[in-house]
Symmetry: C2
Subunit: 389 residues, 2 copies
């Protein structure tokens, strides 16, 4: 195989609405997204020879593990099916690993599903516990640590070292809501202002309620195959050209930097090197804005803005829809919605819509390379995927 | 790629003791197995470019998900790392998917880790709940169903249709303990008799306590690479030649047969076809004897004995160490021990020891093909892997 020239095509995609899908079980959510994606390609269920599932927390949220068998047979499939769990990066890892199956020739057409159902709990405390299993349980969660508290520590450190302000963080949320207003797939399509964010409840100083995402249900599917197979289904497929994964220690105190997402930088640098491109070649990106500070740290780690300038770049409109490097044109996790395991695939679907010119009022122009950055927990895992025509 | 000739080499392996590893956390168990496996190859940690982890229940048992980042950094690795969850087949799926990474050329040397820590709970009820998340939660577990009850239904159906007896089921346990006495790696190295099994507590008629496995802690690691890379490390590597995966609906009432493991048959038949061999070519096998009836159904589904004759074949000694087709020479899940996610890798390690002539008193002769059958839940997922020199 040749990592410089290998390509995997995406020939179909769809996602359910993101939000509170009270009436639907996890198999039904999955089936809804799968049915939509198959319809776009004209494929039937029996044409698929693999279902790769990214899911972070069905065990925690639903008491249901072993999703490979459950969802594949629940969706009427009779092919190999497996579940990847990598917290918020689950969907992105599933996509990356499915690409290996295509590149070996062992898989012809694969559906990659990201799915999560998070709204079953009646208390925020239960939800908080379920989410905290993505942290270092012994060092952090069992001591009362939460994901929000971890990001608050990172934000404080970023503010201290780089002068990042609460207003700049709030602007990430404002921008992503501006974008989501233009995205019919988004969970939250309302405008918000900096004042809304700054006046919302302080959850863990300096993180306000509106600096973070909401728990959500939803599923997203892409159909992948080789470029040769793709020819029969899509005259202009979009290709995954590289996908890299990096890690940092889960527990914050074991990391060298509190205000840098090292796992993202490692993975991104590996991808740029493999493809022979630089951050300047990236036209737009979907990044993991689980909290507003996370987007600021992500665009720095990806090299899209200078280290420490992420807040200022956001304030200056560099990452806005009409800026130099549009970030989260979909609305991001913040406003498009964040069913955890579905996230990496939902990001990819925005990449598809932009490449295919289907993004309507949020369409950006002159696209050469698109990039997704998915992250797990408070930055233990990061997957960076590169897309081109 | 050519599925007929593709090979992935295993050049090193090791496992921790299986049992109650009270003093060790999940990263420490993993590191112990990894260190042993690296030592056998002469490789250093920085030589690895992937860690593929099979783990079924750390979220349930330890409140710890996101193991990719946790364990890789905890083991001092700086490579991509991911976790597969497929209940009892988790380790086997991880191995299968890691093989894809090798065959694409994207991975050079990969460690595949199966690991579980199950003894943290103080009550059997908690353990039972954690295990039940591998069932269909809505249709079975939430109605009070347990894995034992599911296998009891299968056993009853097998007895009714084929005349299988409790004595024959007990003989599976007797045989596997006979084998485990000869295996220094086994958790239980005591002899048991049919009378012991039949007089042990009835858990779910007709399944006695000694028809089942014990909850256990443990880790197992294999190091995989391409045949070309293997040449530098092992003059006689063992190869994975094919690995197939099949599914049945999780919920028993949705299956066509109660007394057949359809997912195993589908996967096995696919493997035989790919390799151009038949069940007669298999020299020995490690199968998923989570309950004694499961071994009987497995050897039938694999075609190693005739459908319905699994109990009688066991009674007749066909599957004993000196029989026509030795099954579970390691002692199996029953006696070698069953830390759930580690199981597929522990099975592979027995295959390695037999191929390499290191199985001492339990060594079998004239080995051409070895096979592992791993299963998830009460038969929702099955992975069949084929090994040769």
């Amino acid at each position: 195989m040749n990592p410089q020239t290998d390509k995997v095509a995406i020939i179909g995609y769809d996602m359910t609405p993101f939000g509170d899908l009270y009436d639907l079980g996890i198999s039904e959510i999955s089936n809804l997204a799968l049915t939509g994606a198959l319809k776009k390609t004209g494929l039937e269920r029996e044409d698929l020879d693999g279902l790769y599932i990214g899911n972070a927390g069905a065990g925690q949220f639903l008491g249901q593990e072993h999703l490979g068998a459950l969802i594949s047979t629940g969706c009427g499939l009779d092919c190999q099916s497996l579940r990847i769990e990598a917290s918020g990066a689950s969907g992105a890892v599933a996509m990356r690993i499915a690409a290996h199956g295509i590149l070996t020739g062992y898989l012809d057409k694969v559906a990659v599903l990201g799915v999560e159902k998070m709204t079953s709990f009646s208390s925020a405390r239960d939800t908080q516990y379920a989410l905290s299993t993505a942290m270092d349980t012994i060092w952090e969660a069992s001591m009362g640590g939460t994901l929000t508290a971890n990001f608050a520590l990172m934000a404080k450190s970023h503010m201290r070292e780089y002068g990042t302000t609460s207003e700049q963080m709030a602007q990430v949320a404002v921008k992503n809501h501006q974008n989501s207003k233009l995205n019919p797939r988004a969970q939250f399509r309302n405008s918000i202002t900096q004042a809304h964010v700054l006046k919302s409840k302080m959850v863990a100083d300096p993180i306000h309620l509106l600096d973070g995402c909401a728990a959500s249900d939803g599923g997203a599917v892409i159909i992948m195959c080789s470029p040769e197979v793709a020819e029969s289904y899509d005259s202009e497929p979009v290709y995954i050209r590289a996908s890299k994964q990096g890690h940092s220690p889960l527990a914050l105190h074991k990391r060298e930097h509190l205000n840098r997402i090292t796992c993202t930088k490692k993975a991104a640098d590996g991808g740029y090197k493999q493809l022979g491109i630089t951050p300047k070649d990236i036209s737009f990106a979907e990044v993991h804005d689980v909290f507003t500070i996370a987007e600021i740290m992500a665009i720095e780690a990806l090299g899209l803005v200078e280290q420490g300038k992420g807040g200022m770049a956001t304030e200056d409109g560099v990452t806005a829809l009409d800026g130099e490097i549009p970030i989260n044109t979909s609305g991001g996790l913040k406003a498009r919605g964040y069913p955890v395991g579905a996230s990496g695939i939902a990001q990819t679907i925005e990449i598809m819509e932009q490449f295919k010119g289907l993004a309507k009022d949020r369409q950006i122009k002159n696209i050469e390379w698109g990039l997704t950055q998915s992250m797990g927990g408070s930055g233990g895992t990061s997957v960076i995927s590169f897309f081109s025509r």
